[in-house]
């Protein structure tokens, strides 16, 4: 489908006027729309397409990334891949308490890299509510299929390298998800809260955790 475009991109000397026009026409984009996507003016796109100007090296790299991304087909992501991509705070945790998969939102809120979290136990990353929650869920039979869903408002206490901790508030939804190995995982998704929102929702739930048991 996109072979023509890919061929053009692999030529040593890219003819930018044709590449840009081809991309715009195959994606039904107006000059202004492409300009918006790239953060340049429409006049600049017009100049590139007429050959009166050539995109800078940095812009050429961005254009190639943009065009590649739009032309390479990918499979449907599975639930784990979707979790990793989420901009919100999503996690997949095992019964043993290992953080198996975390989302982009987690990395952002925790200010940590993926390798600092994934594969590590909850008690290496957290203190406080997150650990209490894991124990409560185990006690309620979460990993044995007894829980349908749970909602929590937590103080997320991150353990920092210097022995300090950093706290923030979160509102999260939790549910069991059976993985391909047959074992139940603890999946959750959530968002950061302001203190007033945290207090309001704690009041509403009547505590940290509200559990809905399976029928």
């Amino acid at each position: 489908m996109a072979t023509k475009e890919e061929t053009i991109l692999h030529l040593p000397q890219t003819h930018w006027p044709s590449v840009l026009r081809h991309h715009r026409f195959t994606h039904n984009l107006k000059q202004a729309a492409l300009a918006h996507d790239l953060g340049v003016t429409q006049a600049m796109i017009s100049r590139w397409e007429s050959g009166r100007a050539t995109p800078s090296d940095a812009m050429q790299a961005r254009l190639k990334r943009l065009f590649d991304a739009a032309t390479i087909g990918v499979p449907m992501p599975n639930w784990r891949e979707i979790t990793a991509l989420q901009p919100s705070m999503a996690t997949i945790i095992s019964r043993a308490g290992v953080l198996e998969t975390v989302s982009q939102g987690v990395l952002r809120e925790f200010r940590m890299t993926r390798s600092h979290i994934e594969g590590h136990h909850l008690n290496e990353i957290f203190s406080g509510d997150a650990l209490t929650l894991h124990r409560s869920l185990i006690d309620q039979g979460f990993f044995d299929g007894a829980v349908e869903m749970a909602e929590s408002v937590d103080v997320m206490s991150l353990r920092l390298a210097n022995g300090m901790k950093r706290d923030f508030y979160a509102h999260r939804l939790h549910w069991p998800r059976r993985d391909v190995d047959g074992e139940i995982r603890w999946a959750s998704d959530g968002a950061r809260l302001r203190k007033d929102e945290f207090i309001a929702i704690r009041d509403e739930l009547g505590g940290q955790l509200d559990v809905i048991l399976s029928l």
Binding site: D37, G73, P87, S88, M89, M149, E151, H171, A191
Partner: protein
Amino acid sequence: MSTVVSNPEVLTIHWPTVIRHVRLSRGLKQASLAQDLGVTQTMVSRWEAGNARPSARIRTQIFDMIWTLTSSLARRTWMERARRNPSSVAVINSTGLVELASRGLLRSLKTVRGQIEGRNLRQAFRGDIPKRFGSLVDRGFFQGKIATVESVERVVFTDFDGHDTPFWQHSLHRPLFVANQRICWLISGASVSRPVWQDVRQRLGSAMVVRKAI
């Protein structure tokens, strides 16, 4: 800005792409998919070539197959849970109608469910959201031609009184294969600060990165 909703083709499911996409996503050969669906390999080949259109029974089976690739819940249960999600989730259909808004989204919009569910996004939003809808339509999102899209938006929500709530969002967009063979637009995201929004935009290299279906 382009909005091609007048062209019905961009809203009709493109079965050759959808069937090939689910087959390759599951790593199956045509013969294996044919066996799963109880048809001949020739039939799968004809569907993927666009020489035949699958029957209603097969179309439903394919939608169910795609649904179970990403969710272990029945569709109705999934919807109920999505409504309760503390993060930002919306389901919008191919006409632009907002079918579902999560609790987290209502919080970001500073509104209540009745102000957003059942409304058309063209009335409920200004700025990047109607624009994003237009470009997804143009790229065949509602035909099943897109796997995922990652983007950043400046969302401007307008309530019934014409009061605007603007915020910055980082979003993931996926097709949702709902019942009756409809593809809906599933947006999940997080509202972020302006500097974070700019960082993500920088990393993406543009406001929107599209991953096409195989």
